[in-house]
Symmetry: C2
C-alpha cells in the first residue's frame, strides 16, 4: 500500500470514529529515543525516515513536523504524498497544539494513542484544548486495522549484566530505591524508561542497534519487585537468578491487568517519563507523588566500578581512534574513501578492541559542507569522497561490556585556511574552559554552559545545540537527568556523573567543527566551608594540531592542551604498534 | 511599653481571637524594600532593627527569623526579650512554614495581615498549611489595639517629574501599557509597587530617605487611568496637570471601595508584586490574568533620554568620587576619620554636584573585618577609626535629578599583603570578564553570572550574594525584573537595561573586597543571523592600582583596565581642579 493510500485510509478511519484529528508523536510506550519498527508509525504513514517527526492527520489534511536537520530530506521524501511539511523549532514555527486550535472548532475531538505520549504532555495538551472548547481523547489501535503488515514487537533476549561490571547487585539497588521511596512518602514506583529498567535489574538486551536495552517494565514496592517481560525474552535460568534476588517475572502483556489488581496506596512517578495510559491506571485509586525520576538520578551517579569500567573503555576506544586516525592519515589519497566507508573502517578498528559490543549510535561522518549539518547521516545518495582540501567531522562512539564512549574529532584534510584554524581554535578554547571548570557543590549545568561558548560569543559566533549530555554506562549514550546547556536544568552536577563536553561551530555550506570529550565529575575538595567539584577528561585521543592557531590560546589553555596530549600519549603508547606509536608521539608533542 | 510587654500583649490578643499563631513579614502593603515607620511592626515588637526580619508569635512563643548579616546584632538586641532567634538562609534553616507545621496541630489557625504578603506567597502558604490540616486566615489590625503610639502613615508630597528627564510623557506611557494589556487579553491592571507607580505617572515623592517614591496605587484600563493618593499629598495644580493627561485622582483610602464598584472583566496582575488582600478584590468577579509585571519590564528598558541622564549622573558621581578619594588620600593620618565620618564626607562631595538629590541608599563603609560583613552599616557602637594597615570597602550611590548611581570601591589603607592583592585581582578579573561579555539576544542573567565568579571559583573562592541588580532611573537603586545571579531568572537581558556588576570576596574577621560598576546593556550588532548584545560601563572612577597584582591579569583583562582608566581620566579631567586632576592622572596611568 502506498503512502498516499495509508494517509487516506487513516482519514477514513478517523471520520468513521467521529474524530476530527489524530496526533502521532512518533515514539513508543517507553518514550524511547530509538524506536523499534513496530512503533515506526510515521515512517509507515509518510515515508519520511528522519529521527524527529510528529504528524497530525485530520479528516482532510495530513501534516508532518520536523526540524531543520531534515527540511531538505523531508521535502524530498514527502513529494507527491499530499502531506504538508511543517518546519518545527524555527522562530515562527506553529506548534501542533496551536495548529489544531486554529484549524478545528469548539466541540471538535482530537485523539491520540495514550501509550505514545507522556502523562505530563497529555495533561498540558488536554488543558489547552479544553480552554478552546475542544476535547482530547486516548484512542489506541486506529492504525492497526489499516497497517496490514505492521511489524511485530521484537522481543529481544534479556541477559544478566554481572555486578562485577555494574558495581552494585540487584539487592543493593532495590534497597536504595526502597529507601528513596520511603523518603518521598511513596509505597511503590513503576519503571517505564528502558535504560532505567536495565540499570535497576542489572539486565541488558539487544532490542536496538545502538543501545543494549530490552522492552519491559519494572514495579518496585517495599516488598515486591517485578519485571514485566514477554515470554521467550527471558530464560528459565535467568528467571531463577532473578527470583533469588527477590524479583518476580510477570508477562509484559499483563502489566495493566496486574497493576489494576495491585494498586498501591501511593506511587512515585515522573510524569514526563511515563505514558499517559499507564498514569491513568493509578490516578483514581493511588496517591500519585510526582517528581523527577529517582532511578535516572541514581543511574547517573556512577559507582567506583562503573567509573573504572568507563575509564578502561575510553582507553580502548582511544587505541581504536588512534589506530583509525593513523590509518586515515596514511591512506588518504592512496585509497578511495567516502563518508560511509570511513564510518565502516572506524567500526572495524573498534571491533579489534576487547569487550567491544558495537557502536553506541550511528556514526556521523561529514566532509566539508556535510559537517555543518549537525546530525548528518551519510546515505548512498549523499555520500561523498574524502579528497582535496576540507574539514572532516567524525562523531562516533562505542559500547564496551564495561562502558560506553562518545567522541568527536574534526580532522584537517589537505590544506586548511586561517579562518578554519581560527574557528577550530575558538571551539577548542570553549572545550578546554569547560574541562577546566571548578565549581561549588550544587552548581547546575546551565550555569557552566557559557564556559564552552564564551570564546565563540566573543567573536559573535555560537552553536545551536547543547554542550553536554549524560552518558550511560553500557546503556544509552544519552541520559539525564543533568545536562550542560543554555536551557534551564535544575538538576545539579554531582560527583560521579559522566557528561559530554562538545562545543561546535557550523558554517552552512562550508564546514562544521565539533570537539567532544567525555568528562567525569569529581570532588575537588573544600575551601572555607564550600565543597568544590571539577571534571576529569576521560576521552583519550589527540586533537588535530594542524587546526590549532596557537596564538589564540592563553597560557592556561596552552598548558591544558599540552598536558592532555602528554596524558594521551603516555596512556595509549604501550597499546600501539611502533609505527602508530611514533605517529601518536608526533601528534602529542607540546605546541 | 517594653518589648516584653508588646510581645505578651500580642500573645493575649491572639488567644482572645482564637488564633494559634500570627506571622509578621515586615513589609508594607506595596511590598516595598524600604518600609515606612508605620509598618515597622517587627522593630516595635522586638526591638530588632536589621533590614531583614520576619516573626512568628504563637500563644506561648515568639520567634524572629533573620539572616547571617544580622546574627550578632540580633543576639544583642533580642537579649532578655524572650524572643527566640531563628537563623535564616542557612543550609539547615527551618522556614517559618515548616516551623509552624511542626509546632501546631491539625485544626489550628494561623493569621497574618493580607496587606503585607504577596498574593503568590499567601496562596502557597495556604495550600501547604491545608495539606497539614491547618488554616491560614487574613486578619488586619491585630497590633493596632496594642501599639499605642503607632506612627501615622506619612503622606509625602507628590511632585511632577518632567518628560524632559523621564524621556516619555504620561500619555505615551499609558498608550504603551494599554497596548500590552490588549496583547495579554486583559482589560485593566493595578499598579501596587511604588517605583512602578512613580514611573507610570511621571511622578516622584519623598516618602523614604533613599528613594524618591510616594505611597499610592494606580489603575489603568483602556479608558481610565486613576492615581489613588491621599489628600494633602497632591497639589491642585498637579491634579489639574494629571487631568490634562487623562489621569483622575481618587483618595488612597477609597481604593478597595472604588475597585469593588468598578470590577473589570479581566485584570492583569503580577501575583508576586500585589498583596493578598488586593488580589482578593478581583478573584471572584474578574478573570485574573497572571504574569510578570508589564510595567517593571517597561521601566527597566531605559529610553535615550534616561540613558543620557544616567550617563551624566555617572559623570558627576565620578567627579564626586574622585574628589573624595583625593581628599581621603591626602587626609589619611592627618585628620581623624571613622567609618561614619567617611560616609558623611562622601555625601558632602556628592552634594557639590548639580542635580544631586541625596544618597540612593545608606552608604556602607567597612574597614578591615567590617568590610567582610556584606551589608554592614556602621553605628556609634561599631564605628572604628581608619588607621594603620587594612582594606576599606565603600559602597555608596547617589540620586541625581536625571539618574541614579551605585558604586563600590575597595581602597588600600597603608600596606597591603600579597594575599589581599591576589584576592582583589581575582575579584577584578571577574568584574572585567562580565563587563566584556558579548552574548546572544535573549540570554538570561543566570547564564552570565559565572563570568564574574570563574576567576574566584578557579581558586575555590566565591561570594554569597548576587552579581548584578537592575538600577532605577531616579527611582529605586534596586529594580527588576532582570538580574545577574546564580539563581534562575527567566527574564532576558535587554538592550537599554542598566545593571550593577559587583563581584566580591569576604574573609570573615579579616577584610572584604567588592568592586562595583554600573553596566548599560546595548546592541553589539548581528552576525550570521544572530543579534548580539554587550555592556558599556557607565561608572567612572579609578580602581585602586595598589591592590592589583598585574601578573594575574591576562592580556584582555590588562587591556580593559588600561582603557577603562584612560576613559575615566579623559571624561572627568576637565571637571576637576588641577591638583585633583594630576592625582587622577597618576591613578589612571597604564599598568
Amino acid at each position: 500500500m502506498s503512502v498516499l493510500n495509508n494517509v487516506n485510509s487513516l482519514k477514513s478511519a478517523i471520520k468513521k470514529a467521529n474524530i476530527n484529528a489524530v496526533i502521532l508523536l512518533g515514539t513508543d510506550p517507553h518514550l524511547s529515543e530509538y524506536i523499534p519498527d513496530h512503533w515506526q508509525v510515521i515512517k509507515w504513514l509518510s515515508g519520511f525516515t528522519g529521527s524527529y517527526a510528529k504528524m497530525v492527520v485530520s479528516q482532510d489534511k495530513a501534516l508532518l513536523w520536523t526540524d531543520s536537520r531534515y527540511f531538505i530530506q523531508a521535502e524530498d521524501q514527502l513529494k507527491n504524498s499530499g502531506i504538508i511539511l511543517m518546519r518545527d523549532r524555527q522562530i515562527d514555527s506553529i506548534s501542533i497544539e496551536n495548529w489544531l486550535i486554529n484549524e478545528l472548532n469548539s466541540g471538535d475531538v482530537v485523539a491520540l494513542d495514550g501509550l505514545t505520549i507522556s502523562a505530563l504532555e497529555y495533561s498540558q495538551l488536554k488543558t489547552n484544548f479544553a480552554a478552546n472548547g475542544m476535547s482530547l481523547i486516548e484512542k489506541e489501535g486506529l492504525v492497526d486495522s489499516i497497517w496490514s503488515n505492521r511489524p511485530l514487537v521484537q522481543n529481544s533476549k534479556i541477559y544478566s549484566y554481572p555486578a562485577s561490571f555494574s558495581g552494585q547487585n540487584r539487592i543493593e539497588k532495590l534497597k536504595t530505591i526502597r529507601q528513596l521511596l520511603t523518603s518521598r512518602g511513596a509505597e511503590a514506583t513503576l519503571i517505564s524508561a528502558l535504560d532505567e529498567l536495565a540499570w535497576t535489574f542489572n539486565l541488558r538486551g539487544e532490542m536496538h542497534n545502538f543501545s543494549p536495552l530490552f522492552a519491559g517494565y519494572g514495579y518496585v514496592d517495599q516488598k515486591k519487585a517485578i519485571l514485566f517481560a514477554s515470554e521467550g525474552q527471558i530464560s528459565e535460568s535467568l528467571i531463577h537468578e532473578l527470583a533469588t534476588d527477590g524479583i518476580e517475572v510477570v508477562a509484559y502483556e499483563e502489566l495493566i491487568a496486574y497493576l489494576s489488581g495491585h494498586i498501591p496506596k501511593s506511587i512515585y512517578l515522573d510524569s514526563s517519563r511515563i505514558n499517559s495510559k499507564l498514569m491513568n491506571v493509578f490516578l483514581d485509586d493511588s496517591a500519585v507523588i510526582e517528581g523527577g525520576s529517582l532511578i535516572a538520578k541514581l543511574k547517573s551517579i556512577k559507582n567506583k566500578i562503573e567509573i573504572s569500567g568507563m575509564k578502561a573503555a575510553h582507553r580502548r576506544d582511544g587505541v581504536a581512534m588512534v589506530n583509525f586516525l593513523y590509518w586515515l592519515d596514511r591512506s588518504l589519497g592512496k585509497e578511495k574513501m567516502t563518508e560511509i566507508s570511513i564510518a565502516e573502517s572506524l567500526n572495524k578498528f573498534r571491533s579489534q578492541q576487547i569487550r567491544y559490543k558495537g557502536e553506541s549510535f550511528s556514526s556521523i561522518v561529514g566532509f566539508g559542507p556535510h559537517g555543518a549539518i549537525v546530525h548528518y547521516n551519510a546515505t548512498q545518495d549523499t555520500d561523498v569522497e574524502i579528497c582535496k582540501n576540507g574539514i572532516l567531522l567524525i562523531d562516533s562512539g562505542g559500547h564496551y561490556w564495561d562502558g560506553t564512549t562518545d567522541i568527536t574529532r574534526t580532522i584537517a584534510i589537505g590544506k586548511v585556511t586561517a579562518k578554519q584554524k581560527k574557528d577550530f581554535t575558538l571551539v577548542l578554547k570553549g572545550m578546554i574552559n569547560l574541562a577546566n571548570a571548578l565549581f561549588p557543590f550544587g552548581s547546575k549545568g546551565h550555569s557552566l554552559d557559557i564556559l564552552a561558548r564564551n570564546s565563540l560569543w566573543q567573536n559573535k559566533l555560537n552553536y545551536g545545540h547543547g554542550t553536554g549530555h549524560g552518558v550511560g554506562h553500557y546503556l544509552s549514550v544519552h541520559e539525564g537527568p543533568m545536562s550542560i546547556r543554555t536551557e534551564i536544568n535544575n538538576e545539579p552536577l554531582c560527583v560521579g556523573q559522566i557528561l559530554s563536553n562538545e562545543p561546535g561551530l557550523y558554517r552552512e555550506g562550508e564546514y562544521g567543527i565539533r570537539i567532544e570529550n567525555i568528562l567525569l565529575c569529581k570532588s575537588a575538595g573544600e575551601n572555607l566551608g564550600i565543597s568544590f567539584n571539577s571534571f576529569e577528561t576521560l576521552t583519550l585521543c589527540p586533537i588535530d594540531r594542524r587546526l590549532i592557531n596557537k596564538s589564540l590560546l592563553n597560557s592556561v589553555e596552552l598548558k591544558w592542551i599540552n598536558l592532555y596530549h602528554k596524558k594521551v600519549y603516555q596512556t595509549l603508547n604501550s597499546h600501539l604498534n611502533p609505527s602508530v606509536s611514533r605517529w601518536l608521539k608526533s601528534q602529542c608533542n607540546p605546541l
